[in-house]
C-alpha cells in the first residue's frame, strides 16, 4: 500500500502522458518500472475505478496487435494487484472505434499452423483471465467493436454501448475465411444463445447497439449527446465513460447485478437448447443450410459449427483447443488468403489515389430515370448530394422517382431509417423533364440508352447548359468513352462511370478515363463514387473497358456450351458450384438478352475471333422472339411475379435445337465446362493488365469479384492465378485451344507467369 503510493507519486512526476485527462487522479501503478511508457494503452483512476484507455498510435482505428495485447495485460495485472482499485472500465479514446479487430498482418505473418495456434491460445488465455477477473471490468463501447474487439468485450463482466450508427458489434472473421480465435466461439453461444451466435458468426453481420442490447450482447445503452460545452463526439465518449464508471462502482459495490433478465422467448430457447436432441437438430439444420449456401467452397463456416459444437458437447477445454487448432488450419487455407486479399483490395479501392478534386461535387444531375439512372440517384441523395433526375417522359421520370422512394422506404421498413429521414433525404431529389438548374451542376451523369448517337445528342445538349467546371460522366457498359467524347467541346471533362445493376446493392464502380480525361476530372469522379459508398477501380478506355471485356468471352463460351446441348439449369449449377453467385444462364437473363447481344456484337467487332465461340445468332433469335430475360418475363427461364421457382422456357428448345453444335467429348466433362468459362475470363483479365487497361492486379480482382461475381473464394482472377498456379491455367488453356482454337490462346503475361514460377501478381 505504502510502497505503491510511493511508486505512484514517483511516476506522477515522470508519466506526464497520464495527465491528458484533467480532473482524474492519474496514477501509474507500474510495478516494474515507472519509466516505461506505453503507446497503446494508458489508464487513470477515478475513485476506486481504473479507467483503461485504448489508443493505438498513428491510426484511425484500434487493432489488437502484439503490443496492445502485452500492454493491456500489463495494465490489467497492475489493476488486479492494486489495493485501491476495485473495478475497471475499458474504453477507447478514438471516437468511432472501440477495437476494430485483431491485426490481420499479425496472423498473416505466421508461417506455420503451430504459430497461429499459439497466437490463438495466447488470446484465449488473456481473455479467460479477464473473464475470471474478481474485479468487475466494464467495456464501454463506442464505435466499431468487431472481431477480436468483440471477443475482448464479451470477456468483460459488463458492456455499455453508445447507441449510434457508428457503434456496431460483430464477428466478421467468417468473411475473411477464418473464425473468432480468441474464445469467441465458446463465449458467444453462452451469451446470446446458440442460434443467435451461429447467426452472428456464420454471416459476420454487423449488429447495431440497440439490437445488441435486445440480444443480450450489451447490458446498457448510452445515447449519443449533442453539442454542449465541447464537440458532441468528445462529450459523448466522456459521458459514456462517466456512465461506465458509475456502473463499475455499482458492480463492485454489488448494487448492480450482472445477471440479465431474460425474456420469455429467450428462456424457452435456452430451455430447448438444454435438450441434446434439440441441439443435434440445430447443428444439423445449420450445417445443411451452410452447405447449401456455400456449396462446400468455404471451409470456415463448417469449422465454426464444428468448434461451437465441440465446446458445448465436450466442454470448454475441448472447445478452446478445437478453436485454436481450427483457427490455425483456416488461416492456412487458400480460401482465407483469397478473402483476406479481397479485404485488403477493398480497403485500397476505397481510397482516392488521385487526391482531392479542386472543387467538391455537391450538385449532381442524372440523365435518364431508368433502372440505372434512378439507382445512381438513390445512392447519391442518401449521401446528401443534391441531385436532379431528368428524363424525357413524365412516365419514365415517375417510375424512376418511385424506384428511389421505394429504395429508401425499404430501409424504413428495416428500421435503418426513420420515415422523417426518408422524407428529408428524398427532398434532395429533384425530378424534371427539362434542363432547369443544370447551370449549377458540378457533375452530370448520363444513363440514357446505350446508343452512341443518342449519347452524342445528350452530350451536346448538356454542354450547352452546364457551367465550365462541370464534369460529364457517361454510365455505359461497353461504348468507348473516347467515342462519346468525340463530339465534346471539352473532352478533358468527359469520363466514364460504369455502375452495376442494381446500383444500390452492387458495390463496384468502374471509372474509365480516356487519354484526354484530366486528372482532376478523375479525382472528382472517384470522390463522388466514394461518397456514394462505392468500391472503385479506375481503368483505361477501350472496348468493354475491363469488366465487360472479361465477361464477354465467358458469355460467348456460355452460348457455345448451351449450343452444345447443356441444359440451362445444368449450366447454372455448374457455375454456381464453382463459386459464382449467379448461374451463367441466369446471368444472361438478368443482364438482358438484348444488352448481351449488343455487347457481344460490339466487342466481337473490336476483338474479332478471340471473342468468338458461341453464335450471336442465338441471342438475335431470342431478341426477335421477345425473350429479353427477366425484364420481359422470358429468357432462358420464365419469370412470373410472385413465383419463386424458375421454370425453363420451353420455347427456347426450338432455337437451341436449330443452332446445335456437336460437343467435343474430351473437353466437355463438368470440370472442363467450368474451366472453359473461368479460364477465358481469367485469360482476358490478365490481358487487360498486359495491355495497361488495368493499372494493378488488385483492381482487376476487385472489379471481377464485386462487379461480375467472380468467386470470392478464389479471390479474383489474379489471386486465382497465383494460388492455383499459372502453369496449370496455361495447360488448361492449351488443351481447350487444341479443341477450339485461338479463343483459348493464353496471353503473353500469363505465359510469362507460367514459365517463371516465382512470378506472382501478389508477392
Amino acid at each position: 500500500m505504502v510502497a505503491s503510493r510511493a511508486i505512484g507519486s514517483l511516476s506522477r512526476a515522470t508519466a506526464s502522458r497520464m495527465l491528458r485527462c484533467p480532473g482524474y487522479i492519474c496514477r501509474s501503478f507500474s510495478g516494474t518500472s515507472a519509466l516505461r511508457t506505453r503507446t497503446h494503452i494508458n489508464y487513470g483512476v477515478k475513485g476506486d475505478v481504473a479507467v483503461v484507455r485504448i489508443n493505438s498510435p498513428n491510426s484511425k482505428v484500434n487493432t489488437l496487435n502484439k503490443e496492445l495485447q502485452s500492454e493491456f495485460m500489463e495494465v490489467m495485472n497492475e489493476i488486479w494487484a492494486s489495493d485501491q482499485i476495485r473495478s475497471a472500465v475499458l474504453i477507447s479514446s478514438k471516437p468511432g472505434c472501440f477495437i476494430a479487430g485483431a491485426d490481420i498482418n499479425m496472423i498473416a505473418s505466421c508461417k506455420t499452423p503451430e504459430e497461429v495456434t499459439k497466437l490463438s491460445q495466447e488470446g484465449q488465455r488473456m481473455f479467460e483471465k479477464l473473464e475470471k477477473s474478481t474485479k468487475p471490468v466494464v467495456a464501454a463501447i463506442s464505435g466499431a467493436c468487431l472481431g477480436g474487439g468483440l471477443e475482448l468485450a464479451i470477456s468483460c463482466q459488463y458492456r455499455i454501448a453508445t447507441k449510434d450508427r457508428k457503434t456496431v458489434l460483430g464477428t466478421p472473421e467468417v468473411l475473411l475465411g477464418i473464425l473468432p480465435g480468441a474464445g469467441g466461439t465458446q463465449r458467444l453461444p453462452k451469451m446470446v444463445g446458440v442460434p443467435a451466435a451461429f447467426d452472428m458468426m456464420l454471416t459476420g453481420r454487423n449488429i447495431r447497439a440497440d439490437r445488441a442490447k435486445k440480444m443480450g450482447l450489451v447490458d446498457q445503452l448510452v445515447e449519443p449527446l449533442g453539442p454542449g460545452l465541447k464537440p458532441p463526439e468528445e462529450r459523448t465518449i466522456e459521458y459514456l465513460e462517466e456512465v461506465a464508471v458509475t456502473f463499475a462502482k455499482g458492480l463492485s459495490d454489488k448494487k448492480i447485478s450482472i445477471k440479465r433478465d431474460k425474456g420469455l422467448v429467450e428462456k424457452l430457447t435456452s430451455y430447448a437448447m438444454s435438450i441434446p436432441f434439440v441441439r443435434q437438430q440445430i447443428y444439423k439444420k445449420v450445417e445443411e443450410k451452410v452447405r447449401k449456401q456455400t456449396k462446400g467452397l468455404y471451409p470456415a463456416p463448417l469449422k465454426i459449427i464444428d468448434v461451437v459444437k465441440t465446446g458445448i458437447e465436450q466442454g470448454s477445454d475441448a472447445g478452446y483447443l478445437s478453436e485454436s487448432q481450427k483457427f490455425a488450419e483456416l488461416t492456412m487455407t487458400k480460401e482465407s488468403k483469397a478473402l483476406i486479399g479481397l479485404y485488403h483490395g477493398q480497403v485500397l479501392c476505397k481510397k482516392n489515389k488521385f487526391g482531392a478534386p479542386q472543387k467538391e461535387a455537391k450538385h449532381l444531375a442524372i440523365l435518364g430515370a431508368g433502372l440505372m439512372g434512378a439507382g445512381i440517384a438513390q445512392v447519391s441523395v442518401d449521401k446528401g448530394l443534391k441531385t436532379i433526375l431528368k428524363d424525357a417522359t413524365l412516365a419514365g421520370l415517375g417510375r424512376g422517382q418511385q424506384q428511389v422512394f421505394k429504395g429508401l422506404n425499404d430501409k424504413v421498413k428495416k428500421k435503418a431509417l426513420t420515415s422523417f429521414e426518408r422524407d428529408s433525404i428524398f427532398s434532395n431529389l429533384m425530378g424534371q423533364l427539362d434542363y432547369q438548374g443544370f447551370e449549377k451542376a458540378d457533375m452530370v451523369i448520363e444513363a440514357v440508352f446505350e446508343d452512341l448517337s443518342l449519347k452524342h445528342r445528350v452530350l451536346k445538349e448538356v454542354e450547352a447548359v452546364i457551367p465550365d467546371h462541370c464534369i460529364f460522366a457517361s454510365n455505359t457498359s461497353a461504348l468507348p468513352i473516347n467515342e462519346i467524347a468525340a463530339v465534346s467541346k471539352r473532352p478533358e471533362k468527359v469520363i466514364g462511370m460504369h455502375y452495376f445493376s442494381p446500383v444500390d446493392k452492387m458495390q463496384l464502380l468502374e471509372i474509365i478515363t480516356t487519354e484526354k480525361t484530366s486528372k482532376d476530372t478523375t479525382a472528382s469522379a472517384v470522390a463522388v463514387g466514394l461518397k456514394q459508398g462505392k468500391v472503385i477501380i479506375v481503368v483505361k478506355d477501350g472496348p468493354g473497358f475491363y469488366t465487360t471485356r472479361c465477361l464477354a468471352p465467358m458469355m460467348s463460351e456460355v452460348l457455345r456450351i448451351l449450343q452444345e446441348g447443356v441444359e440451362p439449369k445444368k449450366l447454372d449449377s455448374l457455375t454456381t458450384s464453382f463459386g459464382f453467385p449467379v448461374g451463367a444462364a441466369t446471368l444472361v437473363d438478368e443482364v438482358g438478352v438484348d444488352v448481351a447481344k449488343h455487347v457481344s456484337e460490339d466487342l466481337g467487332k473490336a476483338f474479332g475471333e478471340r471473342f468468338g465461340g458461341g453464335s450471336v445468332e442465338l441471342l438475335k433469335q431470342m431478341v426477335s422472339r421477345g425473350f429479353l430475360g427477366r425484364k420481359s418475363g422470358k429468357g432462358f427461364y420464365i419469370y412470373q411475379e410472385g413465383v419463386k421457382s424458375k421454370n425453363v422456357n420451353s420455347d427456347m428448345d426450338g432455337i437451341l435445337a436449330s443452332l446445335k453444335v456437336p460437343p467435343k467429348s474430351d473437353v466437355s466433362s463438368d470440370e472442363d465446362i467450368q474451366y472453359r468459362l473461368v479460364t477465358r475470363f481469367v485469360n482476358e483479365a490478365v490481358m487487360c493488365l498486359q495491355e495497361g487497361i488495368l493499372a494493378t492486379p488488385t483492381e482487376g480482382d476487385i472489379g471481377a469479384v464485386f462487379g461480375l461475381g467472380f468467386p470470392p473464394c478464389l479471390g479474383g482472377p489474379f489471386r486465382f492465378v497465383d494460388l492455383y498456379g499459372a502453369q496449370k491455367i496455361v495447360d488448361r488453356l492449351r488443351k481447350y485451344e487444341a479443341a477450339y482454337g485461338t479463343q483459348f490462346s493464353p496471353c503473353q503475361l500469363l505465359i510469362d507467369h507460367a514459365s517463371s514460377p516465382n512470378k506472382k501478381f501478389f508477392q
Binding site: Q220, E223, L225, G226, P227, G228, L229, T246, F420
Partner: protein, 475 residues
C-alpha cells in the same frame, strides 16, 4: 412536451416546512449568482420607436393551473378558455364589442373545437361579430397568439386584441387505429349488405389497438424528457443541481402564492365542483425526497426525474392588448409595453430545448439592450436540466462561436432576477397557455419589484424558441 404524459408529479410528499428551510439554503446553481449591480443605468430610456405604435398590455389573467386529472378533468378545453376570458372581462371591464379580434394558442387540439378561440369567445359572451382564430406552436403557442395580435395592431388592422392560450391535458384525443378508421370510413360508403359484410370480414382484432397522441417529436421520434436528459448530460448538469433548481422553483412559487403575488390568477367556479382559487402543483419537497426518485426517461442512469420536470397541467390564460392611444382614450392604466420579440429555431434533435439561448441575444440586440438592462427574467421551465443547460450554453463562448455564429457569449441571467415567483416546474405548464403567464409575471414583477425591462423566453417542441422584451408602463 407531450412526453410528460406518463409522468406526473404526484409522488412527492408535501413537506412545506422543510421547503422553507431549504429555500434559504444557498443553492449550488449559484455559480450563476452574481452580485446585483448597484445603480444601473439603462442602455436606453425606453424602447419606443418613432413612427411605430406603442402596444400595451392592459391586463392579463389566468385561471389556476391545475395538475391534469384534478378539478378540471371533466371539462372541455373551451370551458377553460371561456373561464379565462370571463375572468379577463371581469378584471378589465372591457366592453365586449370593442374587441377587434381574439387569438388563442393551443397544442393538443380537441377535434370538436379545433378553433377553440372562436368557441370560447362565443361561450364567454363576446360579440359574435368578433372574429377569432387559433394558433399552434407547441409550448410557445400563447406567445404566438400575442405576437400575432401585436402584428395586427402594429400594422393598423386592429386596436384591441384579446390573446390567450389553453390546454387540457386531462383529456387528449385517443384515436382508433388508421386501419380501423379506414374501415369505418369505407363502411360509411358501403351501400349493400354484401359490401358491408365483405368489409367486416376484413376486420382484424389489432384494428382495435388505439392510437395515442404522439408522445415524441415527430421528426426524431424522441420524447422531450429523453432529449432533456441528453441535453443535461451534454452540458454536464448534475442530478443534484437539477433537483436543487426544481426545489428553488417550488419554494419561490410557494412564497409568491402565500404572499399573494400571483395576482394574475382569477378564481374559477367549476361546474359541479368547488371554486378553484389557486395553483395546485406547487409542492416544495426536500432534496432527500427528490433524490429518491428514479429517472423517468433514460433508465436507469439518467438525471431527469418527475420531480425536476414540469408536470402535465390543465389551464388557460388571456390578455387584453391594445394600441397605447386606444387604451389611454378608454381610460385604462396599462401594465406594460410589449416590445421587440424574436422567434428562433434550431436542430430538433440535439438542441431541442435550447431556444432561450438562441433567442435571448437576438432579442437583446434587436432592442439595443444588454443583459444588465434586464430587471426581470421570466423563462419557461420545461425541465430543471433544460434551464441549467441553457444557462451554461449562454455562458459559453465556445458554444456561441461554434453553434450560434456569434463572437461572444451573451452570459447567463443572474439568478436573483430569474423566475422569482416560480416557474413552469412549480406553477405548472399548460402548453398552450404558458406564454401569457410568462408575460404577465414579467409585467407584474416589474411593477412590484421595480425595474424597467423584463425578458421573457421559452423553448418549444420542434426545436423552436421565442423571446420578448416587456417594458414596464410608467407609473
Amino acid at each position: 412536451m407531450t412526453s410528460i404524459l406518463t409522468y406526473t408529479f404526484k409522488n412527492l410528499p408535501n413537506t412545506s416546512k422543510w421547503a422553507l428551510q431549504f429555500s434559504v439554503r444557498p443553492l449550488s446553481c449559484s455559480s450563476q449568482l452574481r452580485a446585483a449591480p448597484a445603480a444601473q443605468t439603462k442602455s436606453k430610456k425606453t424602447l419606443a420607436k418613432p413612427n411605430m405604435r406603442n402596444i400595451v398590455v392592459v391586463d392579463g389573467v389566468r385561471i389556476p393551473f391545475l395538475q391534469s386529472g384534478t378539478s378540471y378533468k371533466d371539462l372541455m378545453p373551451h370551458d377553460l378558455a371561456r373561464a379565462a376570458l370571463s375572468g379577463l372581462l371581469h378584471r378589465t371591464n372591457v366592453p365586449k364589442d370593442i374587441v377587434d379580434y381574439i387569438i388563442f394558442g393551443t397544442v393538443i387540439q380537441e377535434v370538436k373545437t379545433s378553433n377553440v378561440a372562436r368557441e370560447a369567445a362565443l361561450g364567454a359572451g363576446f360579440s359574435d361579430k368578433t372574429p377569432a382564430h387559433t394558433v399552434t406552436m407547441a409550448c410557445i403557442s400563447a406567445n404566438q397568439a400575442m405576437t400575432t395580435g401585436l402584428g395586427l395592431i402594429a400594422s393598423g388592422q386592429s386596436d384591441v386584441i384579446v390573446a390567450g392560450g389553453v390546454e387540457l391535458m386531462s383529456d387528449v384525443p385517443i384515436r382508433h387505429s388508421r386501419k380501423m378508421r379506414k374501415m369505418m370510413l369505407e363502411l360509411n360508403k358501403a351501400k349493400t349488405l354484401g359490401q358491408r359484410l365483405s368489409l367486416f370480414s376484413k376486420f382484424r382484432l389489432n384494428f382495435l389497438a388505439p392510437e395515442l397522441p404522439a408522445v415524441a417529436e415527430f421528426s426524431t421520434s424522441e420524447t422531450m424528457g429523453h432529449s432533456a436528459d441528453r441535453l443535461a448530460a451534454a452540458f454536464a448538469v448534475s442530478r443534484q443541481d437539477q433537483d436543487e433548481y426544481a426545489l428553488r422553483s417550488h419554494s419561490l412559487a410557494k412564497k409568491a402564492q402565500d404572499e399573494g403575488l400571483l395576482s394574475d390568477v382569477v378564481p374559477f367556479k367549476v361546474p359541479g365542483k368547488d371554486t378553484v382559487t389557486k395553483d395546485n402543483g406547487i409542492r416544495p419537497s426536500s432534496l432527500e425526497q427528490m433524490a429518491k426518485l428514479k429517472p423517468a426517461f433514460i433508465k436507469p442512469y439518467g438525471t431527469v426525474t418527475a420531480a425536476n420536470s414540469s408536470f402535465l397541467t390543465d389551464g388557460a390564460s388571456a390578455m387584453l392588448i391594445m394600441a397605447e392611444e386606444k387604451a389611454l382614450a378608454m381610460g385604462y392604466k396599462p401594465k406594460a409595453y410589449l416590445r421587440d420579440f424574436v422567434y428562433v429555431s434550431q436542430d430538433p434533435k440535439d438542441q431541442l430545448l435550447l431556444g432561450p439561448t438562441y433567442a435571448t441575444p437576438k432579442v437583446l440586440e434587436k432592442a439595443g439592450l444588454t443583459m444588465n438592462d434586464i430587471d426581470a427574467f421570466e423563462f419557461h421551465e420545461a425541465f430543471s436540466g433544460q434551464i441549467l443547460a441553457n444557462f451554461k450554453a449562454m455562458d459559453s463562448d465556445w458554444f456561441a462561436q461554434n453553434y450560434m455564429g456569434r463572437k461572444t457569449k451573451v452570459g447567463s441571467p443572474p439568478l436573483e432576477k430569474f423566475n422569482n415567483w416560480g416557474g413552469s416546474l412549480s406553477l405548472g405548464h399548460p402548453f398552450g397557455a404558458t406564454g401569457c403567464r410568462l408575460v404577465m409575471a414579467a409585467a407584474n414583477r416589474l411593477r412590484k419589484e421595480g425595474g424597467q425591462y423584463g425578458l421573457v423566453a421559452a423553448c418549444a417542441a420542434g426545436g423552436q424558441g421565442h423571446a420578448m422584451i416587456v417594458e414596464a408602463y410608467p407609473k
